[in-house]
């Protein structure tokens, strides 16, 4: 019980003190999980991060569930997940209530409109940054462009696009597996 409480409070702090999600959380994990508690080894954290990136869901949240499982099994995973989500839920609910009340004040509206334009820049920048890393081959670049056109101009639902991509990926992997077995 004591261990679960420690897990909960450690992840509560991680959730509370990191802004921006994903990679911004790595230094906090380092401090809380390795330096303070010594629950896992340094190399393990990087492995966990790498695995968390390729799984569905938030990177930080996957990493928390991973670490919770390693430290104390499924109860540990539950404690870690609850810990990392508690600050978000509390803070966002307070803000959600507040924002709808002040949204029509011109000063707030101007700031929000400025932020909206910046959000578009953030999203495009993220696509460009990840794009440079993950579209090194002509085929990858073509896949990225096709999905961009489908979602932005043809207006295909992105759920369909991603499910199709996963099925194609599995089919491709299966095909190479068969080929390697024959060879």
């Amino acid at each position: 019980m004591r261990l679960l409480w420690q897990i909960y409070t450690s992840f509560f702090r991680i959730g509370l003190f990191t802004i921006g999600g994903g990679y911004a959380m790595l230094p906090m994990f380092q401090k809380e999980i390795i330096d303070k508690r010594g629950w896992i080894a340094q190399d393990r954290l990087l492995d966990i991060y790498a695995a968390s990136q390729s799984l569905p869901g938030a990177i930080a949240f996957n990493a928390s569930t991973f670490i919770g499982t390693i430290v104390a099994g499924v109860p540990g995973a539950i404690a870690a997940s609850l810990g990392i989500a508690t600050p978000s839920i509390t803070i966002i609910m307070l803000i959600a209530e507040f924002v709808s009340k002040v949204m029509d004040i011109p000063v707030v509206e101007y700031a929000l409109r400025g932020m909206s334009a910046a959000v578009v820049a953030l999203i495009i920048h993220a696509a460009m940054r990840i794009g440079i890393r993950s579209t090194r081959t002509p085929i990858a670049l073509a896949l990225a462009l096709i999905s961009l056109v489908l979602v932005a101009f043809v207006r295909v639902n992105s759920v369909r696009i991603i499910v199709t991509a996963i099925l194609c990926g599995v089919a491709y992997a299966w095909w190479t597996y068969k080929r390697d077995k024959l060879a």
């Binding site: 390729s54 101007y110 910046a118 999203i123 495009i124 992105s158």
Partner: protein, 187 residues
């Protein structure tokens, strides 16, 4: 509605590969196009989710859930979005380490990853075409484009590209420019 919202978030949680921003095209298709939340409000939610502590996915799910069904909705949607990754990670944690470097697994991602990049870019274009569009009769505009919004977009994009600054910093600059420029031009 709350049940369908939870189903949407389970779906989004299961299909979001590559972190917070990859969730945006999915949510836009599932929530904005159903008319549950307006695009303007959705964009504000993204700003706030980026600027507040915690994982962006959790923040967004809480926000949308709260708007759809109060505190209960917030908790339900957050739970729903976390469920798929929780199940996958706890069930497969030992297996995953064994197969992390498996070439077949990485081949699946060699297809999925570029597609996700395209989805994020497409979501940016979709959102941008709405946010940067001028409303008739208001503020500075040219050829149907809101010039102030376009300027803020271009300068924050340049800043992010050149300096790789933190998203929160970019949003703060966007807010400051918005206050200043929309204030001067009268929105």
């Amino acid at each position: 509605m709350l049940i369908s919202a939870m189903l949407v978030f389970i779906k989004v949680g299961a299909l979001t590969v590559g972190g917070g921003l990859a969730m945006i095209p999915l949510l836009q298709d599932e929530i904005v196009s159903r008319g549950w939340i307006s695009l303007t409000e959705f964009t504000h939610m993204i700003s706030i989710a980026e600027m507040t502590p915690g994982p962006i996915i959790v923040n967004l799910a809480t926000f949308v859930g709260y708007r759809l069904g109060g505190a209960l909705g917030a908790i339900a949607c957050t739970f729903a979005v976390m469920l798929p990754s929780f199940a996958i990670v706890t069930l497969l944690s030992s297996l995953l380490f064994a197969h992390k470097d498996n070439p077949y697994v990485s081949r699946v991602f060699s297809i999925v990853r570029p597609v996700v990049v395209g989805l994020i870019g497409g979501a940016g274009i979709n959102l941008g075409s709405q946010i940067l569009r001028a409303e008739n009769g208001y503020g500075l505009q040219f050829a149907g484009i809101d010039l102030v919004a376009a300027f803020i977009f271009a300068s924050t994009l340049l800043l992010l590209w050149k300096t790789d600054s933190h998203p929160v910093q970019a949003l703060m600059i966007g807010a400051a420019l918005g206050l200043l420029l929309f204030g001067i031009t009268g929105g």
